[in-house]
């Protein structure tokens, strides 16, 4: 099989101010991260000839506040190719589509951004409650099938996956805590992370349950911020200043129903399909990875992902993460080295991908993984959305 994504590289990464006190319009956050990614790659705005993002629109306030048009026109870009994606395998679909664009020669250097202001928007909506006696709010799409039952947050789906995994596989809260506490330890070494105070097993176990068995520490937190990447073709990458991070393999497979409750195996969700297709595209194995940044919008997701990606057998994710010396910064395969989303803040997977890049470039400062890592796996998405890719500096 010809694996054409290997003709695509990440050559630069940029980030805006992130957090809960950013106080900047979304377009400015997007421009800040885009300009910093372009500069990081050693390019100028005039070198950019591609532009991509996902999602294009969303009913969730602050989820995707910047139309691609505002960036095109704002920067006066001359684009050979662009796309604002809607239905795709997680937010990584924008990186994958950009990779396809550079691998087919449609563009040389594609800017891919992910910008969200969910924290500011949430704060606003809390301050304006609904009126008594008003007719019920109406919902289309998946919200129409869950909101009437007051399954109003993704925590309910993830709590139910956790519950059935505890029932079938003997997963424990202590095992889940080992992921959460590892992320927090790494966040303490990451200046931009939003939660950096120390967290103990006791704190975790005694925390208030939101939707059983998940507590506050099992959930990531909305923030405002923007992350951008430059995706370049292998030839064009020679013009950039960093060592190119080639895409060894990428996957956004979906073999079942695109649905939160109708996907046949609710313990695996489509992460399972992504894992299958990913390893068919490379001779590498999970044990070859020098580090991994695994989607952790909820603490159950890494357990689903690690089984789906073959780091351990189905049903053994809890035991895997709880093994001493496995996922820690000095472990066999360090994971969520920047604090993940649980402690780092919700950047919809782009924070995780940026962390993989920084580690491979040797730019992770106090949390740099030892041994000059060359291979990193990043997975993004929960529920019906899943995508993953392997970056290689070799």
């Amino acid at each position: 099989m010809k694996v054409l994504e290997r003709d695509a590289c990440i050559t630069g990464a940029g980030i805006s101010a992130i957090g809960r006190n950013v106080n900047k319009p979304a377009i400015d956050l997007a421009l800040d991260s885009i300009m910093s990614a372009i500069a990081h790659a050693g390019l100028t705005v005039d070198d950019v000839d591609g532009l991509c993002t996902n999602p294009a629109v969303s009913e969730t306030p602050g989820m995707t506040p910047v139309p691609l048009r505002d960036i095109k026109n704002g920067l006066g870009l001359r684009l050979n190719w662009f796309a604002s994606l809607q239905e795709g395998p997680s937010t990584l679909s924008s990186i994958m589509t950009a990779a396809m664009a550079v691998a087919t020669g449609q563009a040389r250097h594609v800017v891919v951004h992910r910008t969200a202001i969910q924290y500011s928007m949430m704060k606003q909506s809390r301050e304006a409650p609904l009126q008594d006696g008003a007719p019920a709010r109406r919902w289309n799409n998946w919200q129409g099938w869950s909101y009437p039952f007051n399954a109003l947050s993704p925590i309910h789906s993830h709590a139910m996956i956790t519950k059935v995994r505890m029932h079938r596989h003997g997963l424990t809260r202590e095992q889940m805590a080992s992921w959460v506490l590892n992320a927090r330890k790494n966040a303490q070494l990451t200046p931009s992370a939003i939660y950096r105070e120390s967290l103990s097993l006791e704190d975790y176990l005694s925390s208030r349950i939101i939707s059983d068995p998940l507590c506050m520490y099992d959930c990531d937190a909305p923030i405002d911020g923007s992350v951008s990447f430059i995706v370049s073709g292998v030839a064009a990458a020679k013009e950039t200043r960093n060592r190119p991070l080639r895409i060894e393999a990428m996957s956004g497979a979906l073999y079942g129903k695109d649905s939160w409750d109708q996907y046949e195996d609710i313990t695996s969700m489509p992460a399972r399909d992504v894992g299958k297709w990913l390893w068919q595209r490379t001779d590498l194995k999970p044990s070859d990875m020098d580090l991994a940044n695994i989607y952790d919008g909820f603490s159950i997701q890494p357990i689903i992902w690690l089984e789906a990606l073959g780091f351990c057998a189905p049903g053994e994710g809890g035991e895997y993460i709880a093994q001493p010396g496995q996922i820690t910064l000095d472990g066999v395969c360090p994971m969520n080295t920047g604090g993940g989303q649980l402690s780092g803040g919700r950047l919809h997977g782009f924070g995780l991908l940026r962390e993989s890049c920084l580690q491979l470039w040797g730019e992770a400062d106090g949390r740099q993984v030892k041994g000059d890592p060359e291979l990193a796996l990043t997975s993004v998405g929960g529920g019906a959305l899943a995508g993953a890719l392997i970056l290689s500096r070799q």
Binding site: N150, L152, S153, I209, L214
Partner: protein, 146 residues
């Protein structure tokens, strides 16, 4: 402490359209209906104009028993918005007619602590505006429920 899980007082509602109206209004007649393929018998949910098993376009709503099993659930402890009282149970139930034919719903008319994976439940309806929401309650053999 045992807490009764009543039908929650505050609910958002589905937007009705030509494809889902029969589903949300079936409860007016006290029955639950799903789209079914007349060629192969497969139930399709959410409703679609084509059968994902045999690709027949001959699809009509069909009444089901309303009996289901709790595939998984969660006891929600947080009041997400004004007018919503916790705790309540959110569950995914699987209909007895077909493996994988599921609904996200609430389990009501029992203590939240009494819900369990594998529990037999049956449908009842919560009528709001022009919608009959299918909720589920324990399906006790005697009929002498609470």
């Amino acid at each position: 402490m045992r807490v009764d899980c009543l039908a929650s007082p505050r609910r958002d509602l589905p937007a009705l359209n030509e494809r889902n109206r029969f589903f949300w209004q079936s409860g007016e007649a006290g029955v639950l209906r799903f789209s079914q393929c007349n060629a192969c018998g497969y139930f399709i949910h959410p409703s679609a104009p084509i059968c994902a098993q045999c690709r027949s376009r001959d699809i009509t709503p069909a009444e089901v028993s309303g009996r289901a099993t709790v595939l998984t659930f969660t006891i929600n402890r947080h009041a997400w918005q004004a007018g919503l009282e916790a705790p309540f149970v959110v569950a995914i139930v699987e209909m007895e007619e077909q493996e994988g034919l599921r609904l996200t719903t609430n389990i009501v008319n029992c203590s939240v602590e009494d819900v369990f994976i594998g529990q037999s439940v049956k449908v009842l309806f919560d009528h709001r505006e022009d919608v009959w929401l299918p909720l589920f309650e324990p399906d006790l053999p005697s009929g002498d429920a609470k």
